[in-house]
Subunit: 380 residues, 4 copies
Amino acid sequence: MATMSKLKWGMIGGGEGSQIGPAHRLGALADGHFAFAAGALDHRPDVGREYGQRLGLDADRSYGDWTEMLSGEKAREDRIDLVTVATPNATHFEITKAFLEAGFNVLCEKPMTMTVEEGEEIVKVAEKSGKICAVNYCYSAYPMVRQARAMVRNGELGKVRLVVTNFSHGHHGDATDADNPRVRWRYDPAMAGVSGQFADCGIHALHMASFICDDEVKTLSADFASTIPSRELEDDAMVNFRMEGGTVGRLWTSSVAIGRQHGFDIQVFGETGGLRWASEQPNQLIYTPVGGRTQVIEKGEGGLYEDAQRLSRVAIAHPEGFPLAVANIYCDLADAIRGENRDGLPNAAAGVRSMAAVHTAVESAKDGGAWLDARPSIFR
Amino acid sequence: MATMSKLKWGMIGGGEGSQIGPAHRLGALADGHFAFAAGALDHRPDVGREYGQRLGLDADRSYGDWTEMLSGEKAREDRIDLVTVATPNATHFEITKAFLEAGFNVLCEKPMTMTVEEGEEIVKVAEKSGKICAVNYCYSAYPMVRQARAMVRNGELGKVRLVVTNFSHGHHGDATDADNPRVRWRYDPAMAGVSGQFADCGIHALHMASFICDDEVKTLSADFASTIPSRELEDDAMVNFRMEGGTVGRLWTSSVAIGRQHGFDIQVFGETGGLRWASEQPNQLIYTPVGGRTQVIEKGEGGLYEDAQRLSRVAIAHPEGFPLAVANIYCDLADAIRGENRDGLPNAAAGVRSMAAVHTAVESAKDGGAWLDARPSIFR
Amino acid sequence: MATMSKLKWGMIGGGEGSQIGPAHRLGALADGHFAFAAGALDHRPDVGREYGQRLGLDADRSYGDWTEMLSGEKAREDRIDLVTVATPNATHFEITKAFLEAGFNVLCEKPMTMTVEEGEEIVKVAEKSGKICAVNYCYSAYPMVRQARAMVRNGELGKVRLVVTNFSHGHHGDATDADNPRVRWRYDPAMAGVSGQFADCGIHALHMASFICDDEVKTLSADFASTIPSRELEDDAMVNFRMEGGTVGRLWTSSVAIGRQHGFDIQVFGETGGLRWASEQPNQLIYTPVGGRTQVIEKGEGGLYEDAQRLSRVAIAHPEGFPLAVANIYCDLADAIRGENRDGLPNAAAGVRSMAAVHTAVESAKDGGAWLDARPSIFR
Amino acid sequence: MATMSKLKWGMIGGGEGSQIGPAHRLGALADGHFAFAAGALDHRPDVGREYGQRLGLDADRSYGDWTEMLSGEKAREDRIDLVTVATPNATHFEITKAFLEAGFNVLCEKPMTMTVEEGEEIVKVAEKSGKICAVNYCYSAYPMVRQARAMVRNGELGKVRLVVTNFSHGHHGDATDADNPRVRWRYDPAMAGVSGQFADCGIHALHMASFICDDEVKTLSADFASTIPSRELEDDAMVNFRMEGGTVGRLWTSSVAIGRQHGFDIQVFGETGGLRWASEQPNQLIYTPVGGRTQVIEKGEGGLYEDAQRLSRVAIAHPEGFPLAVANIYCDLADAIRGENRDGLPNAAAGVRSMAAVHTAVESAKDGGAWLDARPSIFR
Ligand SMILES: NC(=O)c1ccc[n+]([C@@H]2O[C@H](COP(=O)([O-])OP(=O)(O)OC[C@H]3O[C@@H](n4cnc5c(N)ncnc54)[C@H](O)[C@@H]3O)[C@@H](O)[C@H]2O)c1
Ligand SMILES: NC(=O)c1ccc[n+]([C@@H]2O[C@H](COP(=O)([O-])OP(=O)(O)OC[C@H]3O[C@@H](n4cnc5c(N)ncnc54)[C@H](O)[C@@H]3O)[C@@H](O)[C@H]2O)c1
Ligand SMILES: NC(=O)c1ccc[n+]([C@@H]2O[C@H](COP(=O)([O-])OP(=O)(O)OC[C@H]3O[C@@H](n4cnc5c(N)ncnc54)[C@H](O)[C@@H]3O)[C@@H](O)[C@H]2O)c1
Ligand SMILES: NC(=O)c1ccc[n+]([C@@H]2O[C@H](COP(=O)([O-])OP(=O)(O)OC[C@H]3O[C@@H](n4cnc5c(N)ncnc54)[C@H](O)[C@@H]3O)[C@@H](O)[C@H]2O)c1
């Protein structure tokens, strides 16, 4: 629980019944860093206004839409310190850009934009504004993921040779349910854009690989499949890649892997050791030094790196889960807003890199797995 | 996040650096049911007052001690709706009793009291006051524990024949650290009372057995050991028991089980099936129907019982951990305060039953494992 | 595969359709140490003779009963080097004694005898004969169990404080099947003797505790239950014990633990570390040094103790299972017959200690868990 | 243990100190189907002759080399019924061909040949000879792998959409050991041929995918890496493929995945369910019906398919491991020799398909991951 005066937080999207809204509210409020001060929560103005008030917002700060919120907040002395953009993907660019330009710190849901060009623009706008533009790659905020990154950075694995990551679940594997609108839009280019499962889940895994390896994806080759034939976009993808520093990467993502519930894991292999982390047992990190025995590193044990310690709330072997990983993003944001650098926070550069990887993978898959440069032009 | 006006919450104990304080604050505030309104957080009045204000309490509600808080809050119109007692064990009785008698709802940390007599008095005081007196057996609030209980209640296991539970960790297994005051007091009768490990961890397991089996411990036989010889109280205990309904029980608790990190699990075996749950993988419940295959029941899957659904925040396979189990106790409390019966809430009866079991186990262990009635006299 | 001339092996019991017969044949023959030379395989002379010949025995060495076999083999120059006794429990004493007295080496199935007196007699007879009398506590021959014992012996755990072992399965948990003769006799004192599940499975666990701790059970206190009421003998038992060296022991065994398939595991906790081994993952040993991280010790890794290396056939992470644990008993027997001391072989002393523990546990359970001396009189 | 007269078995290669020799001898002899009758065990004639006799071969059947053995056995009435070829890869073709042509049944180690052309010739020779030519894809003989195949064949998964398999270990991950001759030859084209890790381990996984899916690989795209730069051949490979029936395949194999010990697993996802099997827990098969709960299928449980039952020796939850999987290949061979069709036996067609896949993958990897036809020409 924070011991300073609270920061003011606003939210766009995340209305009643939304999927990710509750995780943001729990995450933002769990540790007491933020007070919920403003919102434009729903695509239906009245519904959003009413719901915001039910959640405790003042009537004049429970807005009907984001443009109203933007002008309302800009006009106030006690304007919000941070706005979360948790609307559908196609709206992220416009909203994020507008708030950054008006001088607000932003936490944008993934994917940050729909195109690489938009992403590059966000990077520039963020830079120019001097404000924080973070992207919600929340899995990277688990304590043991931070520990993994610190181990790599501190050379505990030597040079990283290979990173292998999967984000494969089976929740869209039922063909008899494929026309259910809740599922269907995800594989329809009119609504989801150029990519289905890779853009939705794969980019979490791709970001994680970069994050832990402390390196960036340079080239990639992709194989996409629509295993349920009525789908235009892929429900299964394999992406091989190479990082700037030469690390070989392998990423499998699927939504038809029946029996895998969440199915997000990562393995990192270096010259002097290997690591394994899985999102369903997030409080353990499995480590093997070359020539030695496999060991279990536990969240909360002594001697962990700073980020791993700081972002854990309860004692060893008391599990912490997904909502508190989201809360860790907000902890880092609070610190960053207050002036403490938190380089673990995924930023707009990470956001545009993801979009470049998505578009490159789509192109590669169409082109028989051709190896292509996966970097946005501003990072070549 | 709650959509009604918030309840007001106060806390006694849980000062800066305390072990359980942060979990209560996170738990009480996570879902937005409560606002933190008052506190007497430290045994040093000035330190407590200052810390309370740092946590955002108004100066006049950040009290120096609990008696001051009691009279302060009693005098207010906007008095707190709930007080949490998270002070050392020996003070629970006095504070809990005083607040109940003054008409406050109380969440008391375990163990509720030091003696059975005190416990029986709390039961009576709570009854007379008409107020809620809950005890923080927080593990019982995990969604999959609630699912287990509902399965038993609904006859999915048939009559329960056998319950086997362990709460064994190794964190006090280092004899070279045994004189560290942080560890030592726990095995010193002058400070810990009649029992060490059984009173500290064993009663969580014993409560869990009763909770899931929906039955009460009737008789028990105990074997205690101080495996580190300098300890006067037990650091390892085995308790066999019988429940009112005839179920056989076996409970092992240890603090010298080096390599077990948290080590709390329970297995329930009935006529038509078996269940297994473990605190380190709290989001899964393992179920085997007699003659059938072992199955994994996942938090968040379809068709779970009401409590298991209600007390889960995020989708299937997104883990939730210990702090949110504590938060679930506060969810139930908020509902109960607002008039909705939540029979999953551990109450004063559960608290006194635990104390009776502790004292009976101590006596039995001294008496060579004699089988004794483990019930408080008011429940015989 | 052995590179010396083969030893000659005979078998009593283990006829067609028997449970343990195939494991003995596989175990005895797997490594090429023994040739199958004689047998009296069935309680029906003709059936046994015929089956023995089908298995490749010469007609004159496929005997109708064990007395015939005894006189037949005694009369031969090329008499068998080892006889395995795998008949029902009540016959073990008589057969084992007769063959020892006639100068044969014997591997006797567990339990070695029905009474302590018989067991003590076997010890004496074996001693007098100078022949090997081994008992088939085959789990103790898994490489990683031998590793565990060597670690304890070499002080890697410091003084052992506590050993906790379970052998609990659910295969007799179906009350609707309880009258099936295949199951029923086990809980009928007329056929099974004084104890059901403890004598059948519990003694494997008790032997394992002694074996790994390199110590002997001194006193015990037991709690028995017949959770299926029609059973006269126990189907669930808890035995607390103390070893000669002061180690505290806890043993749970059950046949109604629905969902546990084999369910045999052991945990050993000493001053400087803890170990865990489970029969369903027999190729790994889990080790935690005090204050350190949990490690996985793999069968086949470098640097294991001699017995662990010697009794493993294939490379690291290639699993070996139960039949090859039985084969390891035969490897040790072959070496012992050829004159190389193999102190890992469970002997007649181990056999009589088990019987003393069984009878003591029965008595203790009847006497409300009284603590009793569990040693056979010859070892007091 | 077999109940008929034994078949006669011979072996080429597998001399003293060889890696795979002991597994073949254990496998061939474990169940009593075969008697070891002839051998040419070492590349040094004298050493081989001497070792064979130590293993119990008659002097005149312990040959100095395979040509001697071929003429010796051909000349005998009691010639061997089966010969195992367990020499280094480059010799498989010549030896296998010669023995088939002379009318012997052959079990050839993998890879069956070095080139596709050789493989195609073996197929033809085997066909013409009417003899059995099996290839030792021994993992496919685990009972639960047979169960998986039977489930797929019987439609329990619906049409198979996706198969994902890994065979990744870390045993060649130590660069400081890379010049060790024991390791080095594997990555040297002069000795290993066109491929390193994929030809060594990858083809086991590829065969397994075909075996369980009951389908054949049609096209593939590969990405190879030599993560230890001194290596000319790949130590890490990813192969995407498509099967004749449209199934999407993904295969990752590595020898630098430090911390993975054996690391061979397979996941199969169909329209109505998913399966998972791992070589380190070979006795369980994990199954999830679409929309249902994940279940554990245990070796030895009731109701398994015929092959899964037949190839298991001991009761449920008694593990069986790698040597007995090899033994299962010999069980199938014994049956096949005696005239009972065992279609689970990997045959020469499987052998040549593997070689075609290896050569295609090498070419694809060189060609930037191009999708190529992976079938040998005789199967196009
Ligand atoms: N980081 C993660 O792990 C994660 C997980 C799930 C979703 N997401 C991302 O979160 C975003 C939202 O996803 P979701 O699953 O919650 O969607 P959802 O459809 O469940 O909810 C969207 C919410 O936004 C509101 N909304 C839509 N347009 C709006 C507008 N113009 N102004 C204000 N509100 C508007 C809707 O009324 C609704 O309440 C997506 O970008 C998604 O990719 C991220
Ligand atoms: N439910 C659980 O899982 C769980 C876990 C840990 C502790 N506990 C229980 O919580 C209670 C507190 O344990 P802890 O480990 O946090 O102890 P602690 O010693 O870490 O902290 C105790 C706190 O209470 C304060 N305090 C002491 N006396 C006080 C008084 N008279 N008035 C106000 N404040 C006072 C101290 O200043 C300190 O801040 C114990 O009863 C313990 O058994 C429960
Ligand atoms: N070590 C272990 O893990 C283990 C496991 C299972 C059984 N056992 C022990 O093995 C023994 C046999 O058990 P089982 O389950 O195989 O029994 P079973 O009833 O399946 O088979 C017993 C066999 O012995 C034969 N037999 C009976 N009396 C005979 C006699 N007088 N002479 C010759 N043959 C006779 C029967 O015809 C039958 O073939 C028991 O003592 C049991 O406790 C040990
Ligand atoms: N199926 C599997 O899982 C598996 C596992 C390991 C090895 N293998 C295969 O088994 C084969 C042997 O591998 P290994 O690791 O045992 O090799 P190794 O080098 O350990 O042993 C080879 C043996 O063959 C003998 N030999 C060599 N040339 C010979 C010749 N011309 N005639 C007679 N004997 C000869 C050698 O003296 C030696 O004893 C290889 O093809 C390998 O791919 C398969």
